[in-house]
Amino acid sequence: MKYTLRAIYNFYADGFRNMTWGRPLWGLILLKAIFLFLVLRLFFFKPVLAGKSEEQRSEHVSKELIYKSNQ
């Protein structure tokens, strides 16, 4: 088991170490992940129902659905 895990680790580590053209692609993926999770998610896309209990969410959406039907 220990040998298998080590072999898997070495496989990935060697792969990343020996990358040539793949390196800028990983840079791009990292840049995108930072933008997605540290900029977009934190500052622009806060889930409207976050922090509410299941019951509060049901209540919130039911009010929205009823309110919008009267618009």
Binding site: G22, I29, F45
Partner: protein
């Protein structure tokens, strides 16, 4: 006014994100099959040339994958922020397939993708080939779960609405995964990816021919890609045919809009372009019967009876039943903790009318008609380009077998210039599917205007323009990396 602006901007933002995401997905699906086929030839024949071919297209696959990865996550952000009513209302119907997709995609990609790129010379040829095929199959499996969710929105099945939780709850998982709308949509989407991959490979290979370099590589790539592309196109046609039949059954307004059909009937004509029609063809396509009845937009709004006696209600009747459903829902929510008998009666009324729930938000019958001009022309762009690209692939394959392709510069140019056209066809297809089902987010159950969150228009506009800027930047980066890799060509040693 603010409400309609909010709906408009939220839709535009979602369309931009989904359209951007769909620039990368079809190429992933198609290139995966082409490079795996090349590697299979390498394993069977033992010719290193095919390994070099496979490795080159894998490199372009990786570039496309790196830029495209996680663009779908933005859609999930939008669900939570801009479409919170929808996200809650769909409940586990949407959550379960997307969760399966996320977990499967992560593990399959993390495993097989790594073996495909890092495993050359470290694992056996057959293990490597297995990983390459599994990378492609994994991408297609991801599409399964996304399209299960999308198919459900187009034709909701296998669920019950629970007014206590205000959610749809899955009662029949099997109905969800055998939903005919999902099945035809899945094959249509995946095989359109094969077309995209094929045209991409043929176009770039023709660029090498135009530059008079990599001749053997280009011609061999063209042969594999054209065969994959032709098979894919026929599969797209068959799945498109069943998609049409399902639209006629479950989303007749979408079909009527795609045809610009105002007044339907038996032996309905198919419009090629305005003024040019094939009599009876629409009935054949929609019902597989030349005498089949196809309702037009006016029939759907006025209500109609089919020749076999089936009665379909008018828009006004549906709107009235929708209003009854919402009123009963509101009453149930108000009384459920104080008056159980009255709540039970409200629940009964709700259950009787719940299939029309979404119609309760519709103010006028005109709202039930999607943008006919856009859907009509998008459909013609999709089908027209699909036919033209099929012809191109057949001619290219014929020319290659006749050994005449290297001399046919016009054909090489046509193939190269077709690359943007296959993307245009794919985007047009999604316009037909998604604009065509307006005003619905969930057919008949929830219109777009009720699905949207009460957030500020300015917030949506801000993120829309951020996306425009960032997506453009990433696209430019991808194009530069892709062009650099293509210019280097396949002889460069890669990891």
């Amino acid at each position: 006014m603010v409400e309609s602006a909010l709906v408009g901007w939220s839709r535009l933002q979602f369309a931009l994100t989904a359209g951007y995401h769909w620039l990368f997905v079809p190429l992933t699906l198609g290139l995966a099959v082409i490079m795996a086929t090349m590697e299979s030839i390498y394993v069977v024949k033992g010719d290193e040339f095919w390994k070099k071919c496979a490795k080159f297209w894998m490199k372009l696959f990786a570039i496309n994958f790196a830029v495209g990865i996680a663009t779908g996550i933005i859609l999930e952000f939008e669900f939570g922020t801009n479409w919170s009513n929808y996200s809650w209302f769909v409940g586990d119907i949407f959550g379960a397939p997307l969760a399966i997709e996320g977990i499967l995609a992560f593990f399959m990609e993390a495993t097989f993708f790594a073996v495909m790129f890092f495993g050359w010379g470290k694992v056996s040829k057959r293990t490597h080939l297995f990983a390459t095929w599994m990378t492609g199959i994994g991408a297609a499996i991801s599409a399964v779960w996304i399209l299960v969710a999308n198919g459900w929105m187009q034709h909701p099945v296998g669920m019950e609405f629970n007014p206590d939780t205000v959610r749809h709850e899955m009662v029949d998982f099997w109905a969800l995964v055998t939903n005919p709308t999902f099945i035809s949509k899945f094959f249509h989407s995946v095989f359109s990816g094969w077309m995209t991959g094929a045209i991409f490979v043929i176009g770039i290979s023709c660029w090498y021919l135009l530059k008079n370099r990599e001749r053997r590589f280009a011609l061999s790539s063209i042969r594999v890609a054209a065969i994959v592309g032709i098979v894919g196109t026929f599969a797209v046609m068959f799945s498109g045919d069943s998609s049409g039949v399902h639209a006629a059954k479950y989303q007749p307004m979408k079909l009527a809009a795609a045809e610009g059909l105002m007044d339907g009937g038996e032996r309905a004509a198919f419009s090629i372009v305005p003024g040019v029609e094939i009599p009876g063809m629409l009935s054949i396509l929609a019902t597989h019967d030349i005498n089949g009845y196809v309702p037009g937009i006016n029939n759907l709004l006025d209500g109609y009876t089919t020749p076999d006696g089936q009665v379909f209600p008018s828009a006004e009747e549906k709107i009235e039943r929708g209003q009854t459903a919402i009123a009963a829902f509101a009453e149930y929510r108000e009384l459920k903790d104080s008056d159980s008998a009255a709540a039970a009666e409200a629940r009964r009324v709700l259950d009787e009318n719940v299939d029309y729930f979404g119609y309760g938000y519709i103010d006028s019958r005109e709202e039930l008609v999607p943008n006919v001009g856009l859907v009509y022309w998008a459909f013609r762009v999709m089908v027209g380009l699909g036919c033209a690209l099929l012809l191109l692939m057949v001619v290219v394959l014929w020319a290659e077998y006749k050994k005449r392709l290297p001399d046919m510069k016009w054909l090489q140019w046509a193939a190269l210039l077709s690359i943007p056209l296959v993307y245009l066809a794919g985007q047009a297809g999604w316009i037909v599917a998604e604009v065509g089902r307006q005003p619905w987010v969930i057919e008949g159950l929830l219109p777009t205007k009720a699905a949207v969150s009460s957030v500020s228009v300015a917030a949506v506009q801000t993120t829309f323009f951020i996306f425009v800027a960032v997506f453009t930047l990433f696209l430019v980066i991808e194009m530069r990396i892709l062009i650099k890799a293509i210019k280097q060509g396949p002889q460069v040693e890669q990891e």
